[in-house]
């Protein structure tokens, strides 16, 4: 033990003496490691995003050369109730759906990490919605929600004497119905990432806690949760981004209806760009979305614990 301490002291003095060169050397390596991916993304995503931002100030229709419009597109958006409705729907979906699905997937990951019999089967089952094509998922949920007497939910409700509900055909029930599907669909991926992250937690932490007589609950909140923080930040941010980019499900399930009650921002962007051919306006919508997401990301960084994440 004592030699260990000495080693550390020498080590830290050496390090202090060599600091400038080491940092410099590290810095070069850091850039080198990050460069290929950064250049790739700058080229194939960054540049198109830049072009999109420029196009958001034009009337580009993809078929003819764009003309500069100034802030007209943004003024149009500010006065478009459907755009605000879509943004609002996204916020509702995010606020309701994300916490629930994160909690469920965390709980499932912990349960499925216990080496129960049939673990592999359970894990695969939970992951299945993620690998099932959205078209197929939409079709079965359309059946589950079917408002006539033949829908699964209405059969079950009928058993308890509840009259038929319209679900996706009702402007007030459609959004909650969609949120339930997004939660169900998103659990598998989050569960898997949590599961992978649980693998990385040093077992000795738990053993040390055992010596201190910590209960399972204490260990969960004092060790597991803090160790999962970086991945929780990832899951939170990607859930928010994914939520605000929900498209396939809406497209296949409701087409934004009835009466725009389930329209979301990406669906509006798609409609504006490829159904109405107003690419300029669609890119302006995307820029607003980008700003919203940047703000939300900064916010999630706060709530998942400071800048060290």
């Amino acid at each position: 033990m004592s030699t260990n301490t000495v080693d550390r002291q020498t080590l830290s003095t050496t390090r202090r003496r060599r600091t400038p060169t080491l940092t410099q050397r590290q810095g070069r390596w850091g850039l080198l490691f990050a460069a290929p991916a950064t250049v790739q993304i700058a080229l194939w995503t960054g540049l198109p995003v830049l072009v999109s931002i420029i196009l958001s100030f034009t009337n580009y229709d993809m078929l003819n050369p764009p003309e500069f419009l100034g802030f007209d597109n943004y003024v149009t958006l500010a006065n478009d109730p459907v755009f605000w409705k879509a943004l609002g729907n996204n916020f509702i979906m995010a606020i309701v759906g994300i916490p629930i699905s994160i909690l469920i997937s965390l709980a499932l990951a912990v349960m499925l990490n216990q080496g129960l019999r049939g673990n592999s089967i359970f894990r695969t089952a939970v992951f299945l919605p993620h690998v099932t094509a959205t078209v197929a998922i939409a079709m079965i949920w359309l059946w589950i929600y079917s408002p006539g007497g033949n829908g699964l939910f209405n059969i079950v409700l009928g058993f308890f004497g509840v009259p038929n509900q319209a679900f996706l055909a009702s402007p007030s029930q459609a959004l909650p119905s969609v949120i339930l599907v997004t939660i169900w669909q998103g659990i598998g991926l989050k569960m898997m990432i949590y599961l992978a992250s649980l693998q990385g937690i040093d077992q000795q932490l738990y053993e040390a806690a055992d010596i201190d007589g910590a209960s399972a609950v204490q260990k969960f909140f004092r060790i597991t949760i803090p160790m999962l923080k970086p991945v929780t930040f990832f899951i939170l941010v990607t859930s928010i981004v994914g939520n605000f980019q929900t498209f396939d499900l809406i497209y296949n399930l409701t087409n934004g209806g009835p009466a725009n009650s389930t329209t979301v921002i990406t669906y509006q962007i798609y409609q504006t760009a490829f159904q109405q051919f107003r690419m300029g306006l669609a890119t302006a919508q995307s820029v607003v979305l980008l700003i919203v997401l940047v703000v939300l990301t900064i916010f999630s960084r706060r709530i998942t614990g400071g800048k060290d994440d």
């Binding site: 540049l47 059946w143 079917s146 033949n150």
Partner: protein, 425 residues
């Protein structure tokens, strides 16, 4: 560090200049570059003929026959119906647009207006047995821009057993009679007529026609459904819902049978192109004995019925380097033989009226559609702003059907949004 930055700048510089060029030229340079007299490649963009059998029918059965011995070759780009717009707009933006494009009704005016599609000589119609009613959706500003290939007719099919049980022997000839008849034939827990499995926008515009209305004026610069016909059409839908003979909740979603197939609806307002699906899914219900057909009648007693029509069209890119060859190909595809090959593969309704093959005559819905071409009217399109307007229609109609708005409010909102779109054209 400096090296990296230079690399990056160089890379982005090249790309930005390329993009700038692209944006400025609008892809004007044109793709392929094989123009001129001595041969070349004819490219075709089609949402039809998907899959192995479709490809065999289109290429082996039609195109090979046309291109054999010619200096030209062909290349077919098969795309998904739902992604036709994406495919079309990216290829136009990139200057790689196909010589021949096969869009649906409603595409012609907007794309002709934007200069993507070009005019076709009227001489292509010479001797072609095609009903004049089918050409309305092919014209832009009075000139021919497309040829009809397949036709979709929106017809009503009814369950004879239900009609007989209700004692309805005569098919209603006006909308009021239809409304009364539907009250008689509505089965328990079902609907008299299924108005909502088909696209609600198309159902409304169909009824609009029954009330004698049109979406746009002749040159497509103003909406005309504000003359009361639009409200009347929507109110008729609301009345049926109030009667309990139509129900927004009872409709066939993807992956589920339509209510009519399950005996939950006495009448189904559907597209004639569903025939192949119905014969496979519910063969016993679509026999001549079990199923009858009629067109949505006029609102006025004694008026003509109305058949809503859409279809697949043949159009030519304005940038095609070989317009004559493309027009020849169009004419060839509309000859009886090649068209029959196409119809055999797709089960759709041919635009020609003279195809007397069992493929057509045994297809009850197709034959009925052909027999009623005199009542055919195209309601999709009619204005260069149609692409912008069509997405606005369904939400307003749904708001009315689900009780959030009155018919008048919904149509007023739709009219205002449509005028806004028209003002930008």
């Amino acid at each position: 560090m400096t090296l990296r930055r230079r690399d990056f700048l160089a890379a982005s510089g090249v790309s930005i200049s390329a993009l700038a060029l692209a944006a400025c030229s609008g892809g004007g340079s044109g793709g392929g570059g094989n123009g001129g007299g001595g041969g070349g490649e004819i490219s075709i963009l089609t949402p039809e003929f998907a899959g192995t059998t479709g490809k065999a029918a289109f290429e082996g059965g039609i195109l090979d026959g046309f291109f054999e011995g010619s200096e030209f070759t062909y290349k077919v780009d098969y795309t998904d119906w739902t992604k036709l717009n994406e495919k079309l707009s990216t290829s136009v933006a990139g200057g790689l647009v196909a010589d021949m494009i096969m869009p649906g009704a409603g595409w012609v005016e907007p794309f002709a207006h934007k200069g993507v599609l070009t005019e076709l000589p009227e001489s292509l119609l010479d001797g072609l047995p095609v009903n004049e009613n089918l050409l309305a959706q092919c014209r832009y500003e009075g000139t021919l821009h497309a040829l009809p290939f397949f036709v979709d007719g929106r017809i009503c099919i009814y369950n004879r057993e239900m009609f007989d049980a209700a004692g309805i022997a005569d098919i209603p000839t006006n909308l009021d009679d239809l409304r009364e008849a539907l009250k008689e034939v509505t089965p328990d827990g079902g609907v008299g007529i299924d108005l909502f499995s088909s696209n609600i926008r198309q159902t409304w515009s169909h009824l609009l026609g029954c009330f004698g209305g049109r979406l746009f004026n002749d040159d497509g610069t103003e909406v005309t459904f504000t003359d009361g016909t639009g409200v009347a059409a929507l109110q008729y839908m609301l009345d049926l819902v109030a009667d309990g003979t139509a129900n927004f909740d009872i409709k066939g979603a993807e992956g589920q049978p339509r209510p009519w197939q399950q005996g939950q609806a006495a009448v189904d307002l559907l597209n004639s192109s569903l025939w192949p699906s119905f014969t496979e899914q519910s063969p016993d219900m679509v026999t001549e004995d079990a199923m009858g057909m009629f067109l949505l009648p006029s609102a006025e007693a004694g008026g003509d019925p109305v058949m809503w029509t859409g279809g697949t069209l043949l159009t030519m890119s304005a940038r095609s380097a070989n317009p004559e060859k493309v027009q020849e190909l169009m004419s060839y595809m509309l000859e009886a033989g090649p068209l029959l090959t196409a119809v055999t593969e797709s089960g759709k309704v041919p635009a020609r009226t003279d195809i007397e093959d069992p493929v057509v005559t045994d297809n009850l819905m197709a034959q009925y559609t052909i027999d009623n071409f005199d009542y055919a009217t195209a309601f999709e399109g009619g204005s260069p702003a149609w692409m912008e307007i069509r997405g606005l229609v369904a939400p307003e109609l749904e708001a009315a059907v689900t009780g959030q708005k009155t018919a008048q409010q919904a149509i007023d909102a739709l009219a205002a949004a449509s005028q806004d779109a028209l003002s930008r054209v």
